[in-house]
């Protein structure tokens, strides 16, 4: 009695598991499953007020060992040269659908309206670190450049390639205007009271505190306002987004 039962169970289990794998490989099923992202984004946008702030913490709660993920030392030649010179020649380009394209030095950025915040950094892998960030408010920079009415997304293009090679595909990501104009969205140039370390994205990285870590691009080179990102990269709005991760990383 036990024997055939157990065989049936193992066979059934194996069939179920390979069925699951086949479904994950099926583009149609993936397409269906990815529809949940739109639902999640819609629901979160509906219940989270535009201005709601991510929780902030105290100095005492800052992580001693804030993990640096992704690239930690870009191989890009231009980046290496800028870095060798203490980023004195660094210019952040802001262009695309803006009235006045900008080219800002690190000193320029530091003169713009800033904010300091101690927030948690939630990685898509599951870990959390807490850090203190100071940076220029992205909203102020975008107001200075003046968005054209058809601008819908802000793209961030970076110096680093995750395969750590000189000509690997560069990191990039994007956020919409709700997050771009959020009070805690910063172009951070300081971490824990000191200049942003190389491994955390020097000279500037994005802080978008209501989303996961992969939205917070490091080593930012250029910011572009666009109406759609369908023509950029593989069209999903970012490096990880092109590789199956959600564009909206609020969960």
């Amino acid at each position: 009695m036990i024997r055939p039962d157990r065989r049936l169970l193992i066979l059934g289990g194996a069939a179920f598991l390979s069925g699951c794998d086949a479904l994950v490989r099926n583009p149609q099923a993936t397409c269906t499953v990815k529809k949940a992202e739109g639902l999640t984004r819609g629901a979160q946008r509906a219940v989270i007020p535009r201005t709601a702030l991510a929780p902030e913490y105290t100095e005492r709660e800052i992580s001693k060992n804030f993990r640096a993920n992704g690239s930690i030392d870009p191989a890009d030649r231009e980046y290496r040269a800028l870095r060798a010179n203490g980023f004195r020649d660094y210019r952040l380009v802001v262009d695309g659908l803006v009235e006045r394209p900008l080219s800002l030095s690190l000193a320029d950025l530091k003169r713009r309206p800033s904010r300091t915040q101690i927030t948690k950094h939630d990685c898509v892998e599951g870990w959390t670190s807490i850090g203190k960030w100071k940076g220029a408010r992205l909203s102020a920079i975008l107001d200075e450049a003046g968005l054209k009415p058809n601008a819908k997304y802000i793209m961030f293009y970076c110096f680093d390639a995750l395969d750590q090679t000189e000509d690997g595909e560069r990191y990039y990501t994007s956020i919409d205007l709700v997050d771009a104009f959020h009070a805690q969205t910063l172009l951070a140039y300081e971490m824990n009271g000191r200049p942003l370390p190389i491994k955390h994205g020097a000279p500037i990285r994005l802080r978008a505190e209501r989303q996961l870590g992969y939205k917070m691009a490091k080593y930012i080179k250029r910011i572009e306002a666009v109406e759609s990102f369908a023509h950029i990269g593989k069209g999903k709005g970012g490096y990880w987004e092109d590789r199956g991760y959600e564009w909206y990383a609020g969960i």
């Binding site: 993936t30 990815k34 007020p49 991510a54 992580s63 599951g126 959600e246």
Partner: protein, 246 residues
């Protein structure tokens, strides 16, 4: 909604046990829980260490998993993006399905009728435990309702464990943290929420193992048939036939 008993041959009686909404939501829930568990383990595999508190002290996880075998995860190969996409898709179905069940079970009075233990039952818990341990399951009139342990277990699962899965899941969302920081504080921070999410899932696994075991020990054909067709068979006391010699 309730249907009259249907007498069968040889002193058996078919009683109407699980109306369609209960059966449908039960099996949809089983599918959701299985997929959520397997994709959850896929997500855990991306950083197989658990912590208490606000943040991860990487030198001091309270629990680490050296290996999470592929047959436990969905998909079987490492793919955090797919794991997350499938996890959240089924999380939505799980939540909508759960709300439908709870609304139905509360409004129809099912929770009160079938799951709320009476005072006598609560007093007799030790006796019921002994009966359970001896694997004696009532087959007569007493089988019309769930026994007290079953009642309490279902109540804990429905009103504690399953909602806790959802609440700890939402507490890990940086978006939700902005609108409901109280939830994050309630669980003691994101890493505590993640740990509790895992522990609640293990609680659910433990429940399911015992639940399925008891289904099989108490007469799998009858109970499973009840959860598929709605009809459950009990024995009527054979009063007139054998008890009266005259």
């Amino acid at each position: 909604m309730a249907r009259p008993d249907r007498p069968l041959t040889d002193g058996r009686l078919a009683i109407w046990r699980h109306p369609l909404p209960v059966r449908l939501t039960h099996w949809i829930n089983v599918l959701c829980v299985v997929v959520l568990l397997m994709t959850g383990l896929q997500i855990l595999r991306a950083h197989p260490h658990l912590y208490w508190g606000l943040a991860s002290d990487f030198d001091d996880p309270w629990l680490s998993f050296p290996v999470i075998p592929g047959w436990m995860t969905l998909p079987s190969w490492r793919d955090l993006a797919a794991g997350r996409n499938w996890h959240f898709f089924f999380a939505w179905i799980f939540v909508i399905n759960g709300l439908i069940y709870l609304t139905y079970a509360l409004i129809s009075g099912r929770v009160r009728r079938l799951m709320e233990p009476s005072r006598e039952e609560l007093r007799d818990i030790p006796q019921s435990v002994v009966q359970h341990a001896r694997l004696r399951f009532p087959e007569g009139e007493a089988a019309r309702t769930y026994n007290v342990i079953q009642k309490l277990t279902y109540l804990v699962v429905l009103f504690l464990l399953l909602p806790l899965m959802l609440a700890t899941g939402l507490a890990m969302s940086p978006g939700m943290n902005a609108v409901l920081p109280e939830l994050l504080e309630l669980f003691g921070g994101r890493q505590s929420a993640r740990t509790l999410h895992f522990l609640a899932a293990m609680g659910l696994v433990a429940f399911t193992v015992v639940h399925v075991l008891l289904v099989f020990l108490s007469g799998p054909i009858n109970t499973l048939q009840a959860m598929v067709t709605g009809w459950y068979v009990i024995r009527t006391e054979p009063e007139d036939a054998t008890d009266d010699p005259a």
